[in-house]
Amino acid sequence: MKRVLIIDDDPDMQALYRYWLKGTRYRLDFAGDAARALRMLKGEPADLVITDVVMGGMDGETFVQRLREEGAEVPVLVVSVLPPDALPRACRAKQVHFLQKPVTGETLRATMERTMKKGRER
């Protein structure tokens, strides 16, 4: 079972992820902030990381930068209300894909598949 780490400080958004991804072949782990997510990834690698951008503490763009600086090549899916062109630092990082809110369960699942497939092809 593939492990997906979801970083979002909004309990409602976490609830949405849970609902959309229940019954899928993914094992979901949640982190309320990016610093905690970095620690969790050190303990156990993930097949995909889904992250918000605007969060308390470390923001999503900084998280992506730190992740790549630490050598992790895990594909990242950035899910935000902000368009990709508003996130230049995240755009420059490798293996980063974007999904702009609002999303549906179907779009989310399809994008997660594509992102992980591209990661495997590399």
Binding site: D12, A15, Y19, W20, V54, M55, M58, K101, T104
Partner: protein, 684 residues
Amino acid sequence: MRPLTTPRTAVKPETRDAISANGSRRRVTTSRKGGRVPAARASHPGRGKGPADGRKGRTAESAVPRRARAAGKAGDAHHAVVRERAQLLSIFDGIDEVVYISDPRTHEILYLNGAARAVFGDAVGKKCYRAFQRRRTPCPFCTNRIIFHKRPGEPHIWEFQNLRNRRWYRCIDKAIPWPDGRLVRYEMALDVTDMKQAEEALRSSEKRYRATIDSLAEAIHMVGPDLRIILANRAFTVWAARMGLRGGLVGRTVRTAFPFLPATVEEEYRNVFRTGRMLRTEERCLIHGRETITETRKIPVLEEGKTVHVITAISNITARRKAEEAIRRSEKKYRSLMEGANDAIFLADENGMLLEVNRRAIELVGRSRRELLGTHITRLHPPEERDRIVAAFREIAERGAGSAGDVTILCGNGKTVPVEISVSAIRHGGATLMHAIMRDVSERKRIEAMRDLLLRDVTHELKTPIAMMKMAHAMANEALAARDLEGVRRAEGIAARNLAFLARDVGNILGMCWLRGGTLILKPAPLSLGGIAGEIAEEMRDRLRLGGVGLEVRIKRGADRITAERRMIRTLLYNLVDNALKFTRRGKVTIGASRTGGWVTLTVRDTGIGIASAAREEVFTPFYKKNPAMQGTGLGLPICREIAKLHGGTVRISSNGRRKGTTVAVRLAVRPAASRRAGKGGVR
């Protein structure tokens, strides 16, 4: 008789007489041709054939008339005559000037002294007009008539130029008795050619000097040792007339000529005479009501080291001085503008070398004026920008003015400062100067970045709850399709909470506009703080449950009821609780109220991360967010302060330290003093 030369100028009355005698000479000649036999001619030895004694080496004695010699043979008297003649001729021979004797009737030369022979050869026995003037007939200017008839016995002095040798002579003609008894013409001719040439050169020099002095634009006059004016040129005459000085000034003393000058002018002249050094002074006076500035130079004229005259040259320098003053004023203004400017100003030559910088430029670049002057302007910028700046300056030099855009200044301390550059090309005297004005745009860039960030944040804060509601709607649809009622209920909860966030943020933005817009009129009414706190607790119940944070309400007796604008107090309390929940992960938020006299203190205390003392004032700045990622618009606390002010109250924030929670205390009057209106910066 005839002179040695042809007269050219008459310098003395005798000369005029000589000229007037010319006609008479012709008359005399005519009478001779008429057959009258002059006694001298008859007695002249060697007449008509050329004197044998006129040859070189012969003595003057040989020129003695034969009749006299014959008479000498006749007796002692004759010997006496011969001796007398010999003595006379020896005297003439001793004279360095030309001396000759001729017979007035025949014009035959009876004697030439050594000096005469050296010039004309041995011409004894020849006609004087032929020997001296190469004429065939007697000279028209012959003075015989004067010396023999008009003023017999008196010397006649005159000057003329001999056309044969081109030399000038001063002649002394006189009728003298010859030892043989007849009256003969004696002429001594002094060669005055050198003297005449010197005189002519002097006259010419004086003429040129005068012409030069007169041609000068400067007003010039010459002053003698007695301080009298002895010469003045045309410009001086014109200047004196303009000054209203009437009458001739030459001959008058400087004090009487220029009564408006101070008495010190005499001392100035005396100093120049004493020291022999030029003195330059400047004077200001009114001419026809207009201020005139003159420069006076007193120049000593030295002879053998002593000042004999002083030449005074006066120049009207009014226009020059006024132009200089205008330039000085202009430079002062320019300097003042330059130094007072808030922008950095650099002046460079066409090669880009810095010629001048102002105070602000020195501050901006962080280098001294000395370091900057002579530096190439591109050295102010990082290497990667230099080519772009050179190209921009080149284009502006052709266009005349323009902007080099936003570039970076490399400061002396190694830091960089963003600046915008406006450049003007100033063409002056064939050269082009580049005038660059650099404005530090750090603040503008910071504000632009803040604005962009703020826009992004506000957009994010407004779009997020909308997106959440859309997603909750999608979730509800999916749940309905799957007959999952729990899913529908959860989706409804998500939508409700995000609708509340959206309402809060939109309300805050609009509220800030109202509060700052000055259009809000306070309508206070009795209200219950406990009632409002209960409403908020109910509204946030779901959020509190999800966040795992508790909410307590502790309103003390007598503090519950106040008179205020209910809607505003609710907004105030909502924002304080919302803010507390954002920074509290665990524990609780407590709403409290206590009363002291006519004042109620409403508090919201949390057990969250706390707030640094440095940030306790910044949090009241609209849109301030210490962490840009933090939820909300950054308007909550500023709105709270505006509302408290509007009610005559205050807001104070305190914290016991990091992770030890924060307390916000709002002091409100139980009853407001009067109706208030909101406005910029608070109540007015």
